[in-house]
Amino acid sequence: MTDSKKLHYDVVIVGGGPAGIAAACTAAESGCSVGLFELTNNLGGQIWKSAEQNQQPMGGGGWVRRIENSKVKIYTQAAVFAASGMDTILVETPDNVLQVKYSKLILAVGAREIFVPFPGWTLPGVFGIGGMHNLAKLGMDVKNKKVVLAGSGPLLFAAAAHLRLHGAKVKLIAEQADLPNLIKFGIKLPKLAPSKIVQAAIYQSILLGIPYKTHCWPIEANGIDKIESVTLTNGTKTWTEPCNYLASAFGLCSNLELPELLGCEIQQEKVVTDNTGKTSVENIYCAGEPTGISGVDGALVEGLIAGYACTGNHKSAKRYQKKKTKTILFGKALDFHFALRNELKELVRPDTIICRCEDAAYKDIKNNTLWREAKLYSHLGMGPCQGRTCSGAVRYLFGWEKTTNRAPIFPVRVESLAGYSETCCDKASTELY
């Protein structure tokens, strides 16, 4: 029988990436008790991971050391799956269920990759871009493996650099955005994110000799039991590149499940916050990608601000406002210059899988008008990923938002659902009945 433990922290932080770590550190400065809950085994989120902790300046080594030396109580392998009343979250760990009471809650739950489906994308050996980066950092051996990266966004460089440094034969980096957009984005960097210029230069030196093509995207992954090659196009020419691995994803979308469950106002896929990070719900703050995709810098500065603001240190929070404005502009530039081209909508064939958990194909889904209709008739989103893998694609291809967000917002052991006396806070009203 699962033991249910009751905990109480002044400040509870969900998410152990840059935003969560920064928020935890600054909140702890005030002397408040702080508990941080991270879903995976490690702190660092998708940008930093334990393997990178000693690497500066690209790694988050300094920050991770800072939090490990602080009084923040860190929980890993901790999945927040429900909320209870207006002051408690329910968290499942491998041995326990924790009922965690908070005075202030900071949601730093990050983002996930958008997977645009194309024929063969479900073959083993096809990963996300951050996905392959993560897997390599978790120890996947890439030495001498032929790798093609094809997708969108600056993550392509970070992933490619890591892979090359670990012995992969990176054959091609393909960016769907066109060169004029990339140049315009590059021109904005000195003003919006000067540190990224240094980063870009470092990547350039690591990636010397690797073909980088813009206005280029994958149209099919080929292979029987695993990927053998990928077919790409630049709109006029089409060719096939043999590979052992393909890393492919097209930008990021915010993890909105927990903010939505708690009733936070969300507009245009972003959690609405004031300039201190406060959401529309009393005592709940949000920092990092869920307020708008703006990368590590945005996550750090918003985490700092939220951590200070929620513990009453508005003076310190104010000091970072200017930086925050810059990161918001950086996010807008990212959004604009890496916008997905329409050709990507046409990659799907009738039998291309959209929902991987349930093997719901494009033809099974397309004749609906809403997410919930598609879910009901094709089981879209009814698998263990709860729509996390396919919702970005569905939004992109059909314009439907994933509705039906309800506890548990992460799969849990059945016994973790037993044993609470309070009604859990959820938005059953987002259902149509």
Binding site: M1, T2, A82, S84, L370, R372, E373, L376, Y377, H379, M382, G383, P384, Q386, R406, A407, P408, P411, V412, R413, V414, E415, S416, L417, A418, G419, Y420, S421, E422, T423, C424, D426, A428, S429, E431, L432, Y433
Partner: protein
């Protein structure tokens, strides 16, 4: 779009869709109005069990007839409705329940329903993941499971193929005895007959036909093919269904054709919010753990709550409403609507044509309630 039909059906759940299919098939100009999406209400909230029950003679007749119709329909639509003829296993926890097993065996057997008594050894063999020690149970091998929203959608498509018009996202504000239906946008449509198949919303449209919400909770797991082989229910289930108590739970497991397991069940009166209540969910799960402790470590993917449409005498309404002339009812199926939807559709279509049905239909007539005499079926 027309303004006059032979029949207007209000409610696009599985019952309404079955009605539409049979009625349109007989050549009537049929319109079905659904205020959200086909099969998206109670139909989507239930398990999908096709079961022959014996709480009353009228319930038994309707369920058995329905199960036969489903079995025939499923022969050519197995995958479309995710049909699996897994049978039902009623589990006896003590001697009293084992005695009840024997009574039920006699009841089913004498009425020609395949049924088998299992002893302690055979129940363990047929369901090895049940906690050891149960005295035995009753196996009804011809019961089945299906996926209700797909079945409702399929019936609505069949209705369309027979010329029915299906309008989703169309809300009805009221109906009048002269056969007119007023929509939310103010427009009026007319029919010779209006069939209310609106589940727990039916009382809004026929105020002296009581249908109340009886809330239930379910949990669905990831895929565990072979974990259970039948729909498994505790014998106490019928006590829970029959109970007038505000809250009750009963062990009930449903093996989806895709290997997922739906865990239930709970019943609550007077709770009209669709929020999941974790207190009763916990009671339900703890009850289930008593029968199958292995459930604890399965991966739960979703929970939800829904409302069964319940009637005072636990029998559905099928047929004309007395004194209303053009208003009929096909509603109030409580927790057995998925099973009995198909027979409801066939029976109501036969009633419209004054054809005798294969089972006695008097017990389901709304007149039993509306005339003031609540008769038991």
């Amino acid at each position: 779009m027309n303004s006059t039909y032979d029949v207007i059906i209000i409610g696009g759940g599985i019952v309404g869709c079955c009605c539409a299919k049979y009625i349109a098939e007989c050549g009537r100009k049929t319109l079905l109005l659904e205020r959200q999406m086909i099969g998206g209400g109670t139909t989507a909230s239930g398990m999908g069990h096709i079961v022959v029950l014996d709480d009353s003679e009228s319930q038994f007749q309707l369920c058995r007839y329905s199960r036969d119709l489903w079995t025939e329909f499923a022969e050519t639509n197995t995958e479309k409705i995710e049909w699996n003829r897994c049978g039902t296993l009623w589990v006896a926890a003590d001697q009293e329940e084992m005695d009840a097993v024997k009574d039920r065996f006699t009841y089913y057997n004498s009425r020609g329903v395949n049924v088998e008594i299992l002893d302690q050894k055979s129940i363990t063999e047929t369901e090895p993941n049940l906690k050891p020690g149960f005295l035995g149970g009753l196996l009804v091998p011809d019961d089945a499971v299906l996926y209700p929203p797909a079945a409702a959608k399929l019936f609505s498509k069949l209705a369309e193929s027979y010329g029915a018009e299906i309008r989703q996202y169309t809300e009805v504000i009221n109906t009048t005895s002269d056969g007119s239906v007023t929509l939310k946008d103010g427009s009026k449509i007319h029919a010779d007959t209006i069939i209310i198949a609106a589940g727990y919303n039916s009382s809004d449209l026929i105020t002296d036909l009581p249908v109340i919400k009886r809330k239930g909770h379910l949990v669905v797991t990831n895929r565990y093919p072979g974990m259970i082989n039948h729909q498994i229910i505790e014998l106490g289930y019928l006590k829970s269904a029959h109970s007038a108590a505000k809250e009750s739970v009963a062990f009930n497991l449903h093996p989806c054709a895709n290997g997922k397991i739906i865990i239930g069940s709970s019943r609550q009166f007077d709770n009209y919010s669709k929020d999941v209540n974790f207190d009763i969910l916990g009671q339900m799960l703890n009850r289930c753990f008593e029968y199958m402790p292995k459930l604890k470590d399965l991966q739960a993917i979703r929970t939800w709550a829904g409302f069964r449409p319940a009637t005072p005498d636990k029998t559905p309404y099928i047929g004309p409403c007395p004194g209303e002339d053009k208003i009929w009812a096909a509603t109030g199926h409580e927790g057995f609507g998925i099973t009995t939807s198909i027979a409801t559709g066939k029976i109501i279509s036969e009633m419209l044509d004054n054809i005798e049905s294969s089972i006695p239909t008097a017990p389901y007539l709304p007149s039993r309630i509306m005339a003031g005499d609540a008769q038991n079926g």
